[in-house]
């Protein structure tokens, strides 16, 4: 029996449709033109030299989804990061402004700073730890992300701030650090107990006008820029550029900076040596403490 015309037409139509779909490559694998603005770049991490030519391929594979083909942080996934919910937008490499640096505020980070950021990832954000990439691949990526801003052609990386050796923590250093937390008005954003709930916290925005939250010390060790006492020292002495966190390098002397580090550790729910000293002291002397906040701020309160 001859097949009905309708059935034949349906069959042919379906075949045509299948052929069309097969001819269009999957969107996710389509070639996306990456737009860079500089010539080839290099990076130097230890004795590894990275180059942007190789980095380009790794960027396309691992980074483009969030940081975008233009490196401006507008990748196709970026729309799902809601800063009002505390999820930072992907970094915009075209501005060449970076949070985690060993260098003074307003200067470019070192290659090692960028390498560490890629390796460490950013706690509390969608940026994972890229330990799965080899050291060479990460170094190549460092070189490549420099090709998104001409600032890397006209400026040199800053000179890392000097960090003197850490003195041992004791109750004296912690109490001095606590006084500094009061006087430097850290509590205005980070809150009297370091819970990220100070009076200025709700109004904070980053350099792209996105809402941003101050660090909540109660979250434990989830610092954006590393976990060690040295990392903590660097955070407030270099500032997190692009965020409301300013640099205190000009106004806090190195010994005081270590005092502040020791106090900040007591705000975290960690089993740190500082927390141990603090708990013991507070158990017997807690009543002597003046509360942190506007009441005891010079010129504030009342």
């Amino acid at each position: 029996m001859r097949p009905k015309f309708e059935v034949l037409a349906l069959f042919l139509g379906a075949a045509a449709l299948l052929l069309t779909v097969a001819a269009v490559p999957c969107w996710a694998q389509m070639d996306i033109n990456i737009h860079t603005v500089t010539g080839p770049m290099e990076s130097h991490v230890g004795d590894v030299t990275g180059n942007s030519h190789d980095g380009r391929a790794y960027y396309r594979r691992s980074c483009i989804g969030c940081h975008g083909p233009d490196g401006d942080g507008n990748g196709e996934n970026a729309m799902w990061f809601d800063p009002t919910m505390g999820f930072a937008k992907p970094r915009d490499f075209t501005m060449a402004t970076f949070k985690c640096r060993s260098t003074p505020t307003g200067t470019l980070p070192t290659d090692e700073d960028l390498f560490n950021a890629i390796s460490r990832g950013f706690e509390t954000t969608n940026m994972p730890r890229w330990q799965a990439l080899t050291v060479q691949q990460r170094a190549d990526l460092v070189a490549f992300i420099k090709t998104f801003s001409t600032k890397w052609e006209t400026q040199k990386a800053g000179t890392p701030i000097p960090i003197p050796p850490e003195p041992p923590a004791n109750i004296d250093s912690i109490l001095k650090g606590r006084q500094l937390f009061q006087n430097m008005q850290c509590w205005k954003c980070h809150g009297p107990a370091g819970h990220g709930d100070g009076p200025s916290a709700p109004t904070l925005t980053d350099n792209k006008d996105n809402p941003i939250r101050p660090y909540n010390f109660a979250t434990g060790s989830r610092f954006k820029c590393g976990e060690t006492n040295q990392d903590l020292y660097k955070i407030f002495m270099t500032g997190l550029d692009g965020t409301p966190m300013p640099s205190f390098a000009d106004v806090i002397q190195p010994p005081d900076a270590w005092n502040l580090v020791h106090f900040l550790r007591t705000l975290q729910p960690l089993d740190s040596p500082e927390a141990k000293i603090w708990k013991e002291w507070v158990a017997s002397h807690g009543k002597e403490l003046k509360p942190i906040g506007p009441e005891s701020a010079p010129g504030g309160g009342q």
């Binding site: 400026q155 954003c189 966190m245 205190f248 010079p298 504030g300």
Partner: protein
């Protein structure tokens, strides 16, 4: 014998000195004066709630500080507009004067600070509490520094021309501008919208007026020696 030549020699000396003076003396410089005005309805400025910084709230209790996005004066004039030579500048004098930007009573004084590229300016905190000064450039490097009470003023400069928005993250109502210009021929309008740019050698210039809300406008002006030209920039104001 000698006195015989004295007078003619003196005369020759005097004449040549006068000629030399004429040759090196620059042609008389001109001036552009004028006003920046608006038509339409500018946005209403609002009183700022400074209750989060009680010292400032108390200081301004009788006379609340208003927002400064569009500050108007008598006769539809605009304060805090910057007028500058944007083309035709025949070489500006390198900046030597250090400018000053104050944080006082939870306000930036001045609200708009024009400056030349590479010109030094001082940033001072006159308040009894901490400010962080956070300019937000795109072409220049972005830094963010804290200034606790009593710390000395620090000096900064910018190496690229740019309109830079300035804010304090601790006191989000504080807002100002650094206007970095590639010329030393600039002025900022006063509370009657007036400006005056002097020291312009004869020539053809483009003048630009910038206002943070209205954007920019340009006008061409030709200056003859010693002349004073009067021009007016008029922005169309829309309430927002």
């Amino acid at each position: 014998m000698k006195t015989k030549y004295f007078l003619p020699v003196l005369l020759v000396l005097l004449v040549s000195a006068a000629l030399a003076a004429m040759a090196v003396a620059p042609p008389a410089a001109g001036t552009v004066t004028g006003k920046v005005t608006y038509t339409g309805t500018p946005p209403k400025m609002k009183p700022i709630d400074m209750s989060k910084e009680p010292t400032c709230a108390k200081e301004h209790a009788a006379n609340p500080v208003m927002t400064e996005t569009v500050v108007t004066g008598p006769g539809n004039t605009v304060e805090w507009a910057v007028v500058y030579v944007s083309a035709g500048d025949q070489g500006s004098t390198p900046p030597s004067k250090t400018l000053r930007f104050d944080q006082k009573g939870c306000q930036y004084i001045p609200h708009v600070l024009p400056m030349q590229v590479d010109q030094n300016f001082e940033i001072a905190n006159d308040d009894p509490f901490l400010h962080n000064i956070h300019p937000l450039p795109k072409l220049n490097s972005e830094w963010n520094k804290s200034q606790p009470p009593g710390t000395p003023a620090f000096t900064a400069k910018y190496d690229k021309a740019e309109f830079i928005s300035v804010k304090c993250n601790v006191h989000p109502w504080m807002h100002g501008y650094f206007v970095v210009l590639p010329t030393s021929h600039y002025a900022v309008t006063d509370n009657s919208g007036s400006f005056s740019i002097s020291g312009l050698p004869p020539g053809k210039y483009t003048l630009t007026a910038w206002q943070e809300q209205f954007g920019t406008q340009t006008q061409d002006v030709t200056i003859a020696g010693g002349e004073t030209k009067n021009i007016t920039f008029t922005f169309k104001a829309l309430p927002y």
